[in-house]
């Protein structure tokens, strides 16, 4: 079959070619239209002529396999693909605006802005990882934002899909990607760890907040390998006003061993959304890089550099959920709270990477203007936080795994649901109110949460013997 021409005005599988908008080393981008599709479209055509980089073909094949499988606001929609035996192409949604690369001459950007952008990118990564895909080329030019604010990840040519053949697996002797952003384990051939994307996001955050790339711009393998043992200068050394919570987050992303980074992108987004709750470790205050003894140990301890056995992405993500326990701190909820703690302990004991967010809702009156101080003049908000920490204390969780939150709301169930949605919570543990009087008056919070939450919900009740009979009947 004759190869169809790609030129303005030409037609291919119902798509009419418009203008050429980009000519890159790997592919050419054209605007296209289709009678049945109203979204603006782009057609990506790989450069496959004689003598072109074979990587252009393989990365096009990866994108051709992966993009049609992806869904949601954080990726461009895919509207058609063409195979190599005729004319290879991918038609995708055209995201308006520029990539984050356009910000590069405004660096450094303010910390607060970096926090917000970082959170949006981490949220997009969480959604991608949930769909079994690791991006592997997170950098400013592969990140865009929709007018509605959602971060969109583009360019899946180097990506890994946990349930599809990895065509880049044996294709190239050297790891393929963008040197300054590449995670150390990639240099050992590891392609199935989603935390590689968290490392790249850490590089981006470091660069955007300091104006310096943490590992320089070296493109040589020798230069890139240094990151297997040499940590970057802490941002505070470059900028004395660098917030400790931000340094904590950025340096955790840049940990050499993936296991020391955030367990999941959702947990990283959670930290960026709650900077005041970030557990500050020695990382947050550091001004120096690791001592040479540590660097030498890393460099010459082969064990640290051995690739780990293949992991299952879904299993790895499931081992690091964000669990919310919704607690009532009112008097008389002691037995129920004890049961909640037991349930939480059982959950957490099987999930070493899980994090726990303890939630309490400070109910506001619908009409009255609420006073944050109670009759004795105590700050109710702080009292509740203290009560939550007290409840969690017997769980003996590492502080980096525990946060407490007091929400102020008229409708407790709606507040819990909103917190769950915004923070991508995976599991809610909530007690069922036993007092039928209150329940009749107020409706059941747990029932509404269980019915409307987008995640798993465990409703906890005290053991039967602990339930006080309602009317003293003994039937």
């Amino acid at each position: 079959m004759a190869k169809p021409a790609i030129a303005p005005g030409a037609e291919l599988d119902g798509f009419t070619i418009g203008e050429r908008v980009h000519q890159g080393g790997m592919a050419t981008l054209w605007t296209v239209t289709h009678p049945g599709i109203t979204v603006p479209l782009l057609m990506k055509v790989p450069r496959v002529a004689e003598g072109e980089d074979p990587a252009a073909i393989v990365s096009f094949e990866m994108e051709q396999m992966i993009l049609p499988r992806l869904a949601g606001a954080h990726v461009p929609g895919c509207f058609g693909t063409g195979d190599f035996d005729r004319q290879p192409y991918v038609v995708m949604e055209r995201i308006p605006g520029k990539t984050v690369y356009s910000r590069i001459d405004q660096l450094p950007i303010p910390y607060e802005e970096a926090r917000v952008i970082g959170g949006q990118i981490a949220t997009a990564l969480a959604d991608l990882h949930r769909q079994n895909v690791i991006h592997h080329d997170i950098k400013p030019s592969s990140i865009m934002f929709r007018p509605s604010g959602e971060c969109v990840l583009i360019d899946f040519g180097l990506s890994h899909h946990n349930q599809l053949p990895d065509l880049l697996q044996e294709e190239f002797r050297l790891p393929y990607g963008t040197a300054p952003y590449m995670a150390p384990e990639r240099l050992l051939g590891v392609r199935d760890d989603p935390r590689s994307d968290l490392f790249s996001l850490g590089v981006l955050l470091y660069f955007f907040t300091t104006g310096e790339r943490p590992f320089g711009e070296s493109e040589t393998l020798r230069g890139m390998r240094r990151r297997l043992w040499r940590d970057p200068y802490p941002p505070r050394r470059l900028k004395p006003d660098y917030p400790p919570w931000l340094q904590e987050i950025v340096l955790r992303c840049l940990e050499i061993e993936p296991v020391w980074r955030h367990p999941t992108a959702s947990q990283l987004a959670f930290d960026l959304a709650h900077p005041d709750q970030v557990k500050l470790t020695a990382r947050s205050e550091r001004l120096q890089r690791d001592p040479l003894s540590t660097v030498w140990r890393r460099r010459f301890n082969r064990e640290l550099r051995q690739p780990k056995p293949k992991s299952d992405l879904a299993v790895q993500l499931a081992s690091g959920p964000i669990v919310v326990v919704a607690l009532d701190t009112e008097e008389g909820s002691g037995t129920l709270n004890e049961c909640l703690r037991r349930t939480a302990a059982q959950l957490l004991s099987t999930l070493p990477s899980a994090r726990l967010a303890c939630l309490n809702v400070l109910k506001l009156g619908r009409v009255t203007i609420d006073r944050t101080l109670d009759e004795q003049g105590n700050n109710k908000h702080i009292d509740r936080m203290v009560a939550l920490r007290h409840w969690a204390q017997p769980l003996e969780l590492d502080e980096s795994r525990l946060t407490v939150h007091v929400l102020e709301a008229v409708d407790p169930a709606a507040a819990i649901l909103e917190f769950t949605r915004v923070n991508h919570v995976d599991h809610i543990v909530i007690g069922a109110r036993q007092n039928s009087m209150l329940r009749t008056l107020l409706g059941s919070v747990s029932a509404k949460v269980a019915a409307e939450a987008a995640c798993s919900v465990t409703v906890v009740r005290p053991p039967r013997s602990a339930v006080v009979p309602l009317h003293g009947d003994s039937a």
Binding site: P54, L164, L167
Partner: protein, 246 residues
Amino acid sequence: MRLAIFADIHANRQAFSACLDFARVHRAERIICLGDIVGYGADPEWAVDTVMDLVADGAIAVMGNHDHAISTPSESMNAAAQAAIEWTRGRLSVAQRRFLAELPLTRLDGDRLYVHSEASHPARWHYVSDTPDAARSIAATDAHVTFCGHIHRPALYSMSSAAKMTSFIPTADVPVQLLGGRRWLAVLGSVGQPRDGDPAASFAMLDTTSREITYCRVPYDVEAAADRIRANGLPHWLADRLLMGK
């Protein structure tokens, strides 16, 4: 067109029935049988009759080493396999034995090649257990996709236009597009005697229009199949391994 492709049925009536039911429910339009219809299992007459009927209805079948051993005793089989072949031979009618003996070693169907073991030397019954084995098979044919079985463990290999290989253990129920720019070797798991640790029957569906292959797993009454093996005096190990999928 939607194809249902089965390898290594091994006279396991319970497993093959469950797979055929699945194929019917998922509207398979053509059945492909990649050989080893008999051997190991206790229902060879039923298995051969079933495949003969399918072939009469347009199915394609090729010969496996156990099918071959019915007419031509092989010295390379282990004792349990050999015992099952001797027992099977006594159970089959002349017509059934002739059907097995006359099966072709390979069949080309458009740009698809069907073979029991691998494409470079189909009559030598080599196993495809790694990428060099797969590369040898792919290099021996012009077919876009070769389908084989024999090793009882599912795998999917591809060779790029630059002759670079990839290997992959397929995930059940997740379709994989067999891209046109490279050539593929789809190694199927076994219907009647899976050996990858999962006792469920293993096979694949192919959509020839979208070029998507989906590896499938179907649970079946393993106990019943194992009981039939024991009740017919076949080596007990053949029953035990069905329960373990090893």
